[in-house]
Point group: C2
Chain length 198, copies 2
DNA sequence: CAGTTGACATACCGATGGTATGCGACCTAC
DNA sequence: GTAGGTCGCATACCATCGGTATGTCAACTG
């Protein structure tokens, strides 16, 4: 049962992040104490503070994990097609479905902006799923599918729309709501490549 | 200096809510202690707990105040016209401008969903600005300006888009971003009444 | 194998949200 | 108008929690 130090370090940090993720997702950041987390892994606060600067730093690691998983699912969905437009719509739909996960809900969308100050949260979100969204939009503009326009505002409008929709869907009881939302989102996206007739 | 008890009660609660709002908006909910709040008003925690069940209840009252102000501004903007479509767009634009207020930012959009559990926050937001949005959409469907479709998903998509856009605009340095966002939002809204040509 | 570093545990502290209780000003009933 | 009750608030206190200081034993390094 001899373990190398590097492996031991990786094991404990991973265990802490995993346990923290479970508790944060279930009860919310504020309602989870560090004692709850370390007890669940059979460690003490000394171990936690050896690997993380403070509670927020541990939460940061959890958010990184969750966001990377969401980003992976979005990318996987987008890569199923070569057509930039289909990649955009597929990515958006994949994001909505991924956000149905309660972990994503509470950690990424509810506690994330409040615990990490909003700017830091935005930076992380940008680096994860937001990145692909703005890239997809840029590509569509470049190839002339949607008209020339500033990308940043559009990215935030769409990203915010999907975030809020995901939160709403989480507590919705009617299964139809998910489909209705995807349809409504598709309509909005479609409007980009069928600009209004003036 | 005799005050009736009812007035005294109203005065102190109002003072507490006002002071709490200032501090919550400036430093965020978690960073403000109850001692900070009562010191600023010249009272003690005893007074606070006589009027509010706990810290979250005080925050709830603050959110109610902020949301009612935002709703008032939205309604005022919407009432300038009789045309349902103009009332929708004017309301949306007014919401975006109202959300530029740092109080609205931090309290309503960042801390709100995390402190009040999301469902409660959503209920309050629904009762305030969200109400007018869905009513406006319903009216437009009824009069045939936009096609028949489920209202709830659309409401949440648009509401989320504006919330996120407001947060982004708050830390944006370029003044043009606000105008660009309003334009982009108008495009999305316009797509509702100029459905895609199939 | 000696000395150092790293991975934790233990013990402790200050701050903070929350509670129990006491007191004086106001209000009501007679 | 005054006695008893209620209300508005202060004081004192408690438990918990995030964070720190320090000790200890295993693992690495020369």
């Amino acid at each position: 049962m001899r373990r190398t130090k590097a492996q031991q370090r990786q094991d404990t940090t991973h265990a802490l992040v995993t346990e923290a993720r479970t508790l944060f997702a279930r009860h919310g950041y504020a309602a989870v104490s560090l004692a709850d987390i370390v007890d669940g892994v059979g460690l003490t606060k000394g171990a936690l503070y050896h690997h993380f600067d403070n509670k927020a730093a541990l939460f940061h690691a959890v958010v990184e994990q969750v966001q990377s998983e969401v980003a992976a699912r979005v990318v996987a969905a987008a890569e199923t097609s070569d057509d930039p437009w289909l990649r955009l719509t597929a990515g958006c739909e994949a994001f909505l479905r991924a956000s149905a996960d309660p972990d994503v809900q509470q950690i990424m969308l509810v506690d994330g902006p409040a615990i990490l100050r909003w700017h830091e949260w935005r930076t992380m979100d940008e680096a994860a799923s937001g990145q692909h969204l703005s890239e997809a939009l840029a590509e569509l503009i470049e190839q002339g599918t949607i008209p020339e326009q500033p990308i940043a505002p559009l990215t935030h409008l769409l990203s915010g729309a999907m975030n809020e929709a995901a939160l709403w869907l989480a507590q919705s009881t009617r299964p139809r709501d998910l489909d209705d939302t995807i349809v409504a989102l598709s309509r909005l996206l479609d409007s980009l490549r069928h600009p209004k007739l003036t």
